[in-house]
């Protein structure tokens, strides 16, 4: 997608001052891309990859079309929205879309001229700027949580306010304690009330149960896939890691994700090839076309086999006790815990999957992830698992030259014994 997106972006840029026209052209472009990924996907690629790539663009395309759209962050309980027929779109995904077309500088400068600090995470800044720009139509609701990070509350509030859309914040206390569950549960009921108000319909608990049933199966499948990942892997582009993690979060509980999880198992079982080096990616990879896309590609020797954020959200939700189990899913998310808990979780993942090393991408302005990077480095080195901390920006392709990323990664790979 990368190179093509950039070319498309440079055409789109000409219409930057005419948001309505910009939207029409972007919609046409994304419509075609959605169709292409569905109907004309590359039959040589694993089915799982084709599915998540399609779902990722479909999600943004739906938001662009408008109608029953909810802007959410990665951890917002999409299940509640999906049950009422709304389409959740992650604001991070919208930022990523801009970035993949090298257009993120436009919303970034809009955000900055509206007083948003440049030390705020670029995922947030870009989505706020995009909201100000009105390229996307007004969402029906904006929902966010206080985890993964503390920038969500303010950023999504700005987005909601700029559209005049209803806003709901779920405060998830950090610390993963059972006594926090009722507090979160009560907020979920408040959210349900708000959704009922917006849709003017009783909340369909039966549908929710169905979604949770699918999610339960998806989670079980992913655990099975994790077992397979120990000895097998499927070739992925780095940006596909991104697509995967964001579809998994925002579309948890959909039939489509359940299908994807089944495909993943089949793909892994059928996989014949394996790379020389298997790596684990921590946090999020950069979205825009960059030199790392060449380093970690299906045809290369080194694969990133999975990302930390495939695994944080997996929780055995209970269709028979939906709201409470969704509250638990939030409270017990590993990323709501301490860096020590995160460290233990990642060491286990790395050991279990037998990876040769891990790369932590400390994204500019992200304090929750990079705040733990130094600690993670020390525990990984105690465990003798090579660890590289990359600092950079996932969204802003102007921020640090991609050449730098490449040099650091190449040096790391040399240590791991990969020859160019």
């Amino acid at each position: 997608m990368s190179k093509k997106s950039v070319v498309f972006g440079s055409i789109l840029r000409k219409f930057k001052d005419d948001p309505a026209r910009f939207r029409r052209i972007l919609k046409a472009g994304m419509g075609l891309e959605t169709l292409r990924r569905k109907k004309f996907s590359d039959k040589n690629r694993p089915a799982f990859i084709n599915t998540i790539n399609h779902l990722a663009v479909l999600e943004v395309f739906k938001a662009l079309k408008g109608n029953n759209v909810a802007w959410v962050n990665l951890l917002a309980p999409s299940e509640l929205l999906l049950a009422t027929g709304m389409s959740p779109v992650s604001a991070e995904g919208i930022s990523g879309t801009m970035s993949s077309m090298h257009l993120e500088d436009l919303p970034l400068s809009l955000a900055s001229s509206n007083g948003i600090s440049s030390s705020l995470c670029t995922f947030h800044r870009t989505s706020i700027g995009t909201a100000f720009w009105k390229v996307f139509p007004k969402p029906d609701i904006v929902v966010t949580t206080t985890i993964l990070c503390d920038g969500n509350a303010g950023s999504f509030y700005k987005i909601a306010k700029s559209y005049g859309a209803p806003f709901f914040l779920i405060d998830v206390p950090r610390g993963r304690k059972p006594e926090y569950v009722p507090y979160v549960e009560r907020q979920l009921y408040q959210l349900i009330e708000l959704i009922e108000e917006i849709t003017a319909r009783k909340f369909p608990f039966d549908k929710l149960a169905q979604h949770l049933e699918w999610e339960k199966q998806t989670v079980e499948n992913l655990y099975r896939a994790r077992k397979l990942l120990i000895s097998k892997s499927i070739p992925m582009h780095l940006y596909e890691q991104m697509n995967a993690l964001y579809v998994m979060h925002t579309l948890a509980g959909t039939k489509e994700l359940l299908t994807a999880s089944q495909e993943l198992i089949r793909d892994l079982e059928a996989s014949q090839t394996s790379p020389d080096i298997r790596l684990l990616w921590l946090h999020i990879p950069p979205y825009y076309d960059n030199a790392l896309f060449e380093t970690f590609s299906p045809t290369g020797k080194t694969w990133v086999v999975t990302d930390e954020l495939w695994w944080d959200w997996l929780y055995p939700v209970r269709p028979e006790d939906p709201i409470k189990s969704l509250a638990e899913k939030l409270v017990f998310n590993i990323e709501a815990g301490s860096v020590q808990e995160r460290g233990e979780f990642l060491i286990n993942l790395a050991r279990e999957l037998n990876v040769s090393g891990a790369i932590h991408f400390s994204h500019w302005g992200c304090r929750q992830s990079s705040g733990g990077a130094g600690y993670l480095k020390s525990v990984f080195s105690q465990e003798k698992i090579p660890f590289l901390e990359l600092t950079g920006d996932c969204v802003d392709h102007n921020s640090e030259s991609a050449g730098q990323l490449k040099t650091r990664v190449s040096a790391f790979l040399e240590i791991l014994g990969v020859k160019e």
Binding site: D105, S109, S112, S113, G115, I116, S117, S119, L120, H124, T146, C149, D150, G151, A153, G154, S155, Y157, K158, L169, D171, P173, R174, G175, E179, Y180, Y183, R186, Q187, Q190, S338, V339, Q340, S362, W364, G365, C366, R367, Q368, S370, G371, G372, A373, G374, Y375, K377, S378, T391, H397, N398, S399, E400, S401, G403, Q404
Partner: protein, 584 residues
């Protein structure tokens, strides 16, 4: 000892416990690889203190933000102190209040354990009373208009539950009264700087100031609930909470009662992201980004100085003409060059001089003065008034007065072009965009941040890399065929990017054009930030370069007005301000 760092720690309960306690109060830190550069300086200093604590100490940790949350995590492994964690909800409704009440109950238990006997209901009520007394006392000092460094001391004492007897020094009358809100600040140098630019601080609302001492706590049957209510619903909320900018916010009320004439909104890097501290519309305000601890007081003082000048609505009161002087001098002591302008009563430029500032700006200014005196044959007595401006304005010791370069540029440009609405100035090491109103007063301005991106320095570095002087670069850019983008705005990264473009065989023409676009981008963002509009005057040495002029005009879609000698507009403005003081 009990330590804490965040104003969401309930002092009522600490006072009730009668245990000694203190707020972490250091501003020093060494870079620790455990603490990432994305975290704010305040966290770094807190972590430094945590590492120095011993096993008798107790640290009350509040996860007021992601940075603190991580510092608290790390403290468990890297500090000997015992740690109790309070989870702060980031909402302000009743559910959140109840949640925080439970957190406080937990704290109460731990403190009871620490002192070996449980804290009684009576003690809690007494704690509330002692806290209220302390709080009222601090506000009393505000009402008495004491000098703020005395009040700040009293606040620092109150943070340990103690009362400080201030010496009875009062703020000056007739100077602008300022309040600071937002990111944490408490530095003495900051207070001194406010004094030096001729204003008085009358309120420090930040968490280094009075923010923790806001909101009422009443005596009630459930004191914990009451304390939680104050903290979550009644006090001034911190930047983590989303609904802070509503009209009913307690901050609005406090500002209205303290009657500052201007409010400085400080947005701490990596902390205050949204710049939405609610300031009543009728009070002018300015937003500035700061670090903790403060660095670059120079830039801050220029910005705040310009704001104060704006508040004073021009410089008040004509003074009598000094001796028989007939000349007015303006000296602009910038970081790259020092410029001097001599004018007469009719504002005609009689002489102008430019010299590199070098390492000793004061010597350079004197040298220019001496040269001017020799060339025009005048003595010190012939100088009616001299105004210094620019980054080094305070070291020009022969000046009668200093005025910031913002005001001076506005004055100079507006005199040359009476219809100007906006000024873009690109100097050697900083650049600024200033917006004027109909009358020519500064309405808003923006300066680039402590880095060379978007300044003359950026071009200089690139011209060295390309081995072409700036005019040659401009000529080369004219011949560009391809739209190359130099993505890094940072000078250091851009330099290596350019080197690699040359390596790839890209033409110097295309690279030059790309560089001009890159610097323009930066300026365009500033222009948009102040909502600039034509007619636009372009000043500063860089305005002589046709490459940047052309690119910037294209990007902005406006045609610039460019003074004949664009370098000396600041100095010219300074001279005119001096003249207006004397000749009315």
């Amino acid at each position: 000892m009990i330590y804490y760092a965040c104003s969401y720690v309930p002092l009522e309960i600490l006072l009730a416990s009668k245990l000694p306690f203190a707020k972490i109060d250091s501003v020093d830190y060494t870079e620790d690889p455990l603490v990432h550069r994305n975290l704010c300086g305040y966290c770094k200093t807190t972590f430094e203190s945590l590492k120095a604590m011993n096993d008798k100490d107790l640290f009350i940790a509040v996860d007021s933000c992601d940075a603190m949350r991580r510092i608290n995590d790390l403290a468990r492994d890297f500090s000997k102190a015992r740690i109790i964690q309070l989870r702060l909800p980031w909402k302000r409704d009743d559910e959140s209040k109840n949640f925080y009440r439970d957190q406080l109950a937990n704290l109460l238990e731990v403190l009871s354990l620490v002192r070996g006997s449980s804290i009684t209901l009576e003690e809690l009520k007494e704690g509330i009373k002692r806290f209220n007394d302390l709080k009222d006392y601090l506000w009393q000092l505000h009402r008495e208009n004491l000098k703020y460094n005395e009040i700040q001391k009293a606040i620092d004492f109150a943070n340990s539950g103690k009362r400080y007897q201030p010496s009875l020094k009062y703020i000056r009358k007739g100077v602008p009264r300022l309040a600071v809100v937002g990111g944490i600040i408490k530095d003495r140098e900051f207070l001194k700087m406010i004094e030096d630019i001729g204003a008085e601080l009358v309120l420090n609302e930040t968490c280094g100031g009075m923010r923790g001492f806001t909101g009422e706590t009443f005596s009630a049957s459930d004191p914990l609930y009451e304390i939680a209510t104050r903290l979550i619903q009644r006090r001034v909320p911190c930047g983590r909470f989303v609904d802070i900018e509503s009209d009913t916010s307690p901050l609005q009320k406090i500002l209205l009662s303290q009657k500052p004439e201007g409010v400085i909104k400080l947005n701490q890097k990596f902390c205050d992201f949204f710049d939405d501290y609610p300031v009543p519309k009728e009070i002018p305000s300015i937003s500035l980004e700061i670090d903790f601890p403060l660095s670059s007081l120079g830039q801050l003082s220029t910005r705040i100085g310009a704001f104060v000048e704006k508040l004073r609505k021009g410089i008040a009161g004509a003074i009598s003409r000094k001796s028989k002087g007939k000349y007015f001098l303006g000296v602009d002591s910038g970081s790259t060059t020092t410029n001097l302008v001599v004018i007469n009563d009719s504002e005609e430029i009689l002489l102008w001089k430019i010299a590199p500032t070098g390492i000793n700006g004061s010597v350079t200014a004197h040298k220019l003065l001496k040269e001017a005196q020799e060339e025009m044959n005048f003595t010190a007595d012939d100088i009616a008034y001299c105004v210094a401006t620019g980054y080094g304005r305070d070291i020009v010791d022969f000046a009668n007065e200093t005025v910031t370069e913002i005001t001076c540029h506005a004055k100079g440009a507006r005199t040359l072009f009476p219809h100007a609405q906006c000024i873009i100035d690109i100097g050697g090491q900083d650049s600024k965009v200033i917006r004027l109103d109909e009358k020519g007063s500064v309405v808003d301005f923006s300066m680039n941040d402590k880095c060379a991106a978007g300044t003359g320095r950026f071009l200089e570095v690139m011209s060295r890399v390309l081995e072409k002087d700036l005019d040659a670069m401009a000529a080369a850019a004219e011949r560009a065929r391809k739209k190359l983008s130099i993505s890094s705005m940072c000078t250091v990264f851009a330099e290596s990017e350019v080197v690699s473009l040359i390596g790839k065989g890209e033409s110097i023409n295309d690279i030059s054009a790309g560089l001009f676009r890159s610097i323009s981008k930066r300026i365009v963002a500033m222009y948009k930030r102040v909502k600039g509009q034509p007619p636009v005057v372009f000043t500063g040495g860089v305005a002589r370069n046709s490459g940047i002029v052309k690119t910037l005009q294209e990007e902005l879609g406006v045609k610039f007005l460019i003074p004949k000698i664009p370098d000396i507009v600041g100095a010219y403005g300074a001279a005119i301000i001096g003249k207006e003081k004397v000749v009315k």
